[in-house]
Structures are given as structure tokens and as C-alpha cells.
Amino acid sequence: MEKHTTRLGGRRISARSLPLYILVIFGLLAVFGLFFLPLWKLVEVAFQEEGRLSLGIFQEQLTDTKTLKVIWDTIYINILSSFFATVIGVVMAYFVAYADIRGKKLIHYALLLPLIIPGYIITLAWMQFFAKSGFVASLVQSVFPDAVMPNIYSYWGIIFVFSVTKYPLIYTLTLSTFRKISTDMELAAAISGCNKIKTFFKVTLPMSLSGVANGLLLVFISCLDNFGTVAFLGIPARITVLSTDIYQSIISFTGGFGEAAAKSVILGVIGVLSSLILWRVAKMFQTMQTDLEDMSPRFFLGRKKILVEILMWLAIFIINFVPMLTLIVTGFMKGIGGGYGLDNMTLDNFIFVFSNDKSFNAIKNSIFLAFSTALICVVLGTIVAYLMVRRPSVLIRVVESIISVPYSIPGIILGLALILTWASPLPIIHVTIYATVFMLLVSYVVRFTSLQIRNSTTGVLQTDISMEEAAEICGATAFKKWTSVIIPLIFPATVSGMGLVFLNALTELTTSSLLWSAGSETLGVVIYNYTSAGYTTSACALSTVVCITILLLVLLYKGVSALLRRRIGEE
């Protein structure tokens, strides 16, 4: 058989091409400028007084009793919230992992609801639930006329809302840890004479402590990061934590950002310290586990099964559904306090939400921002993830670390850092994007690229390198290799990352609350503004629209990924 013998091409190893070098250097500069420079500026501002290096602002802040109370309140609220979130999360995880209850999948998804619905919407919902003359209050008062609803604008209110919104972080981590504990370990304890309770405290719990500690860390950090809940509940009650304190110093701008920057550094240090402590604790408890999750039930409740099921559903119903229902009902009300008859119900709030300039702008902006952030992040994140897995080097590790910082610090710090960097026009081209919707785009990309890298990395790791090598051997060019092998194979993990970025960007509040301006409102900002201005019914209507959109998107994603999995023939 005649074979072609003309062979061209080939690649010199020693001399990489000049355009590639320029591209790499340009990319590094862009990463450095976007992700690192703002935080550097923030630290610089915090450690400066009258143009000189100084610890003056810190000295001032750390001796000010007001600031010290803020720091103390932050730690106090976070520790108690983490504790209660842990109790809810571990108990739920234990029953879902081990008991033979029915409808586990449904229970599981219902428990995850607070992960996909933004915290400030859930807070708004609880505000309606506990409202003095609200729907629930009037129900309770029809039975007990003297009953008074507890005041949600208080320390306990904040701790309560944190616990019921943050427990899924503990729940998911503990659930997988519980399932990874080998059944044999528990059987061995039983053979050695332990009953169920003893087995739990002597074997199961000690072996899952590292998972719990990791979850605890996530909750603590997530509470530090939180702005919506503490702003909604704390500001009316004059309870201030670091994130709201920083926010207030920024918006009541009085000649300089030094104070806000210093408080940001303090908040960052608290975050890093607590991470280090809990990370050490988690390491201490690290035990051997099987890698596989054992999904089969491990204890049988017998006659008590129905009781446990009712209790779990009741808890889920109260925690995750009733407040959302009061939110929706409030969205349909003509006015607060006008009763709950059909005569006080209206669609006007929803019509208002779609016809009002501010909220319509917000819907437009948030959708635009969510789409463009997801697209930019998926390209950037997947490139970094691919290089990290396939061409590991010190350089790419540094790049990944720089990109991951803005995601792991509280959003309020990032917001301030971006103000400090972008408020003045860009050098050379003299363009200012500050106070436009593009400022928000930059901030979302900076914040969420790390999230995409994590998901894309999973995708690349799941794809064996031989898949790519086989394509090369079969004659595929680099382009063909990406389009017909790599992209289809990393698609599921990449798209789930994209979905997460999309949802996060769609409902972002913390950095947006600092960076928005007239014309570049976002959904989070408008809901926040309506709420603080007392337009509760409009805020609830817009929140309802947002929640329904999110649920539809999640269902769509679930449906599409199930279809995709079937196509690849996985179980």
C-alpha cells in the first residue's frame, strides 16, 4: 500500500517562539494586576499615615472600645452560630447517611436549599416570619392572643438565621465523611460489645471529627464573609460586626479609607488565624477512611422510622419552607398590616418589580453580569486548571494561589480593595470603569474565577491523560484534540462550575453593595435597598422572582446533566 512520505512540521524544544513568551508575560501581568494588586493597595493604605509607613491607624483602632466591641461581637456571634449550625448539620447528616428512612434523596435536596438561595433572601424571609404583625404572628395570636413574636433584630436573631442558613456546609462535609467510614469499623465496635449510642461516640464521631472540623471552618469563614444577614438584622438593632462596620466606614466616606482598610486587615487576620487553628484541628483528627462512599443504610429504625421521618420533615419544613412561604405571601400583599384576606392580595408588587426602572435595570444587569462572568471564568478557570494538572510548575501554582485569594477573603475586603484600585482612571488608556456595570464584572470575575478553577480541575483530573495521548497518536491537531476529546470529557464538571459561578454572580450582594452606582444596580443591591427603605412587599416580590428563577435553573441543570450522564453510559 502506498503511504505518504512527505512530513513537515515538528517543534523545536529549546527555542520557544517569541509570541508565546509575549502571551505568557501579558497573561501574568493581567493576573497580577487584576487579582493581586488591589489587595496590595489595601494593605498599603492600612499601613500608611500621611504618606509614611505607620501602625498608627491600627493603634487607634485597637484601643478604641467601639472597634473592640465590634471585633468581640463578630467572634461571639460567629462561634455560637458555628456551634448551632454544627448541631443541625451533624444530626441531619447522621440520619441521612445511616438510617433506613424513606425518600432520602428528597430530604437531601430539601436540606441543601439554603446553599442555592442567597442568604439575604432567606434573612428577608425570616424577617417576615417573625414580623410583629406578620402572617405567622397573626396565626399564633389567633390561638394565644397575648403571644409576642421574638425580636429577630437581635444577637439571637442573627445567630438563629446564621445557624439555619449555614448548616448545609457542615451537613454536606459530614455526610460524605460518615459514608466513608467503613461499615466494618462499626461492626467491629458492635462485636466488641458497644451498643448504637456507644458506637456513635466511640467510633463514628471520633472518625468523622476531621470532616466536622473542616465544616466548622467553612461556617466560621462564611459568617465572617457575610454581609446581607448582619446588615438586615444588625443595623436596625445597632449590632455591628466587622463586615457591616467596614461597609459603614466606606459609605460614610470622611476623607480617607485608612480606617476601613485597617479594619479589613483585622478581619483578614481573624479569618487567616481561625483557618489555621481549625485546619490544624482537622489534621489532628485525620483518620484512615475508605475512599468510596457506602450509601447503604446502617441501622434500622423499625417502628420508630415513621417518627424520625416526621420529625425530619417537620424540621425541614419549618427551617426551609415556612419562611419562604411567608416571603411569597408578603410579595402578594397590598400593604403590611392590612390582614391576610384575599382583599389585601395583589399582583401589583410583581408588576412594579418589572416596570420600575431600578429593579428592571437590576434584572437586566444581573443577568448580563451572571452570563458574562460565567463565560469569562470558564475560559480563564479551565485554562489555569488544565495547566495546573497537565503542566505543573511553580509559576502556575503561584498564579492559582493569587487567583484563589479574592475568593477566600470576605467580599467586603475585596470591594474596598477594588475601589482603591479602580477609582482613578486606568494608566495609559485613561478610561474609568469605576461606577459602571463593568466595574461589577471585574469584581465578579476576580471573586469567582477560583470557584471555576476548582470545578474545572476536577474535570481535568477525572480525564486520564491517555485520552489526550490517544487523540494525538490518532493524528488529531491540538485544536481537534480540544474540541473532540478534552472539552466533551471535562464538560460535566466544567458546566457545574459554570452554574455555580452563574448563581453566585446573579445574586451577589457584598461587593456589589460597595461598587454599584445609579444605572448599575444588581438584584442583591435592589433587594437590599428596598428592604432598608421599608419597601418590604416589593423586596419580597423581587426575591420571589429570584428564587423561582434559581429553582428553575437548578432543575434545568439537573435535567441536562442526567441526560448527559446517560449519554456517556455512566450509572
Binding site: 500500500m1 502506498e2 503511504k3 505518504h4 512520505t5 512530513r7 513537515l8 512540521g9 515538528g10 517543534r11 523545536r12 524544544i13 529549546s14 486520564d464 491517555s466 485520552m467 495521548e469 490517544a470 487523540a471 494525538e472 497518536i473 490518532c474 493524528g475 488529531a476 491537531t477 481537534k480 473532540s484 476529546v485 466533551p488 470529557l489 449519554r567 456517556i568 453510559g569 455512566e570
Partner: protein, 344 residues
């Protein structure tokens, strides 16, 4: 088209995975590269594929240099194909799409094959016995069937060189023997040049025209299966292929006398390296065991394992405590602790 490997060195941060390897592979030949894990055999294969580039030396396919220390032709620019240890079938493509991929993408495929792509795919799928399964996805196939798809894909473009990286190691024993036969039949049918990497000597002996035995990044011996098995040229080959005992003693011309005895063994076929070191290589199944009365190597049994057709004995030589292995097929019953005499 012949392939030539000249003085190849592969250095991974100071670790020499390959050290001065030279080998010429003839057109149509089936070469097995045999060695323990870590000997560099897979590295050599990956250099032939173009996944890595050598630290020094040169590789030529036909009369074209495909790699040297500062130049490498990427895999898609070489007219080669490969069967991976993990098969590397793309899970999102059907059997047909997997086999069709190289025909659609390789720039070296002949006009004739490209023009009759569908027919060619059908022919290949038939050749590996998977007719009717064209639309299945890899996840819906058994291990043996996946192996066949990988073979069909590798043969699709009729390459200059077919590389196989331990292709049978993921199959169970029975299927392995069956696939071995099929690979042999496919080679005889297509006469494609094959470089087959394995650590299993029975695969190498059964399949190859020539075997290259490698150890520690170097070639120990190149030869036909008969030469490698029957006439090892280095102590490593003697031990690795056929588990030979190296019995110590003295040489006088072609005659060998084991230490501590007066026996005279004929050693006209033994390679010079053994004569120099004063050893005689002998396979476990070639040693006879007697209780006494003959002159030979005296040894004491310390382990006996009944294996059905034969009895595997492990012994310590009485002269130097050397570990010896014997495969005994006689009828006499021995016990651990018995002292025996081993003869040729």
C-alpha cells in the same frame, strides 16, 4: 519502514531512565520489550510515540529523524498508532466513532482508506469480532471487547509503526491467553511493525520475533525468543527469563564443576560472562533431584510447594548457602529438611 533508535538517553532530573539505548527495528517485525517495572521500557515506548523528547540521541522512523535532543516531531505528525494499557477509548464516542477517529484525523492515511471510511471501519470491527456493536459506548463493553476496539482503532490507518503498552495487563488470565492469540493472528494478517512492551515473559516469548530485555535503563540482550530463553547472555536475563539458578563452581574449557563436588557438566552453550564469573546457569526444571549416590550440588530443602503437575522446591546449597529453585516432576516424596543432590 524501519525504525532506528540511536544512543538514546533519557534523564528525569538526574535519574537516568534510559542510558544509551540503540536498537534497529525492521519493517514488519514484532519486537517485544521485556523488563521489570521501572526498567525504562515504557519510557522508550513514549519516546517512540513522541510524548516525551530524549535528553540525547536520535530516533529515526524511515529516513526521517523524529526526535533528537532539541527537536521533536509531535505524535500527530508521525504515522504511528498505539494501544494503551488502559485502552484510552473515549467514553463519549461509540465503538464506530472511536475506530473512525484516526481515519478522519490522521494526515498520513491513504486516499483509498479515507475514501472508503465506512467500509474500512466495518471491516476493522469485523476483524476484531465486534460486528453489531458499532453503536455501543465503551462503558457498555466488557474488558475484552474494549481491548478489541482499541486494537481496531490502532490498526485503522495501517500505520508504519504500532506501539503496544502492556495491552493485556488489565485482563484476567484466560482472556489474556485468548487475546494473545488474536494479536498474533492480527500481526500475521497485517504485517504491521509492532513494538510491544510487557513485563510478562510468556507474552514476549509467545508473540515476538525478537525480544529486547531491559534492566535499569539499559538493554541486557536482544534476540529471538529461543535465544533469550535458551542462551541468556547476562545474569539478569538468566534470572528474569526462566528464573535460572546461577550455580557457582569452576570452569575448565567447556567443562564446569560445581563447587564442593567432582561432577563434570557440559557448558559448551554457556555465554562467556558466566565463565568469567565462575557460574553455570540452569533452569529450575532442568535440575534433577536424587537422595544420594550421584555427584552434583549438595543442597538442603527449606520449602516445598505442591503445584499439581510438579513440586516446587526451594533449597540452600550446602557449599555456599546459595538459594536454589527446582521444579521436580518425579514420584519420590521429599520433606523440608531433607538433604539431596542436584544433577543435570
Amino acid at each position: 519502514m524501519s525504525t532506528e533508535i540511536r544512543n538514546i538517553v533519557m534523564d528525569f532530573n538526574g535519574f537516568k531512565a534510559l542510558n544509551d539505548i540503540s536498537l534497529k527495528i525492521q519493517d514488519g517485525e514484532f519486537i517485544a520489550i521485556l523488563g521489570p517495572s521501572g526498567c525504562g521500557k515504557t519510557t522508550l515506548l513514549r519516546l517512540l510515540a513522541g510524548f516525551n523528547h530524549p535528553t540525547a540521541g536520535e530516533i529515526k522512523i524511515g529516513d526521517q529523524v523524529v526526535a533528537n535532543k532539541d527537536y521533536v516531531l509531535p505524535p500527530n505528525e508521525r504515522f504511528i498508532s498505539m494501544v494503551f494499557q488502559s485502552y484510552a477509548l473515549w467514553p463519549h464516542m461509540s465503538v464506530r466513532k472511536n475506530v473512525e477517529f484516526p481515519i478522519k484525523n490522521s494526515k498520513f492515511v491513504s486516499q483509498e482508506i479515507r475514501a472508503n471510511c465506512d467500509q474500512r471501519v466495518q471491516e476493522l470491527i469485523g476483524m476484531v469480532g465486534l460486528t453489531g456493536m458499532e453503536k455501543r459506548l465503551p462503558a457498555q463493553l466488557s474488558g475484552g471487547q474494549r481491548q478489541r476496539v482499541a486494537l481496531a482503532r490502532a490498526l485503522a490507518v495501517n500505520p508504519d509503526l504500532l506501539l503496544m503498552d502492556e495491552p493485556l495487563s488489565n485482563l484476567d488470565t484466560e482472556l489474556r491467553v485468548e487475546m494473545r492469540q488474536e494479536i498474533k493472528a492480527l500481526h500475521q494478517k497485517t504485517r504491521v511493525t509492532v513494538v510491544y512492551v510487557t513485563h510478562d515473559q510468556s507474552e514476549a516469548l509467545a508473540l515476538a520475533d525478537r525480544i529486547v530485555v531491559m534492566n535499569h535503563g539499559q538493554i541486557e540482550q536482544v534476540g529471538t525468543p529461543q535465544e533469550i530463553y535458551g542462551h541468556p547472555e547476562t545474569p539478569f536475563v538468566a534470572k528474569f527469563v526462566g528464573r535460572s539458578n546461577l550455580i557457582a563452581g569452576t570452569w575448565e574449557g567447556d567443562v564446569f564443576t560445581p563447587a564442593g563436588s567432582a561432577a563434570k557438566w557440559d557448558g559448551s552453550q554457556v555465554a562467556p560472562v558466566f565463565r568469567q564469573s565462575g557460574h553455570y546457569p540452569v533452569k529450575p526444571e532442568h535440575l534433577k533431584v536424587v537422595r544420594s549416590g550421584a555427584d552434583g550440588v549438595r543442597a538442603k530443602i527449606y520449602e516445598i510447594e505442591y503445584q499439581g503437575v510438579e513440586v516446587r522446591m526451594m533449597l540452600h546449597g550446602c557449599a555456599d548457602q546459595e538459594v536454589l529453585e527446582v521444579r521436580y516432576r518425579g514420584t519420590e516424596t521429599y520433606q523440608v529438611g531433607d538433604e539431596v543432590v542436584l544433577t543435570l
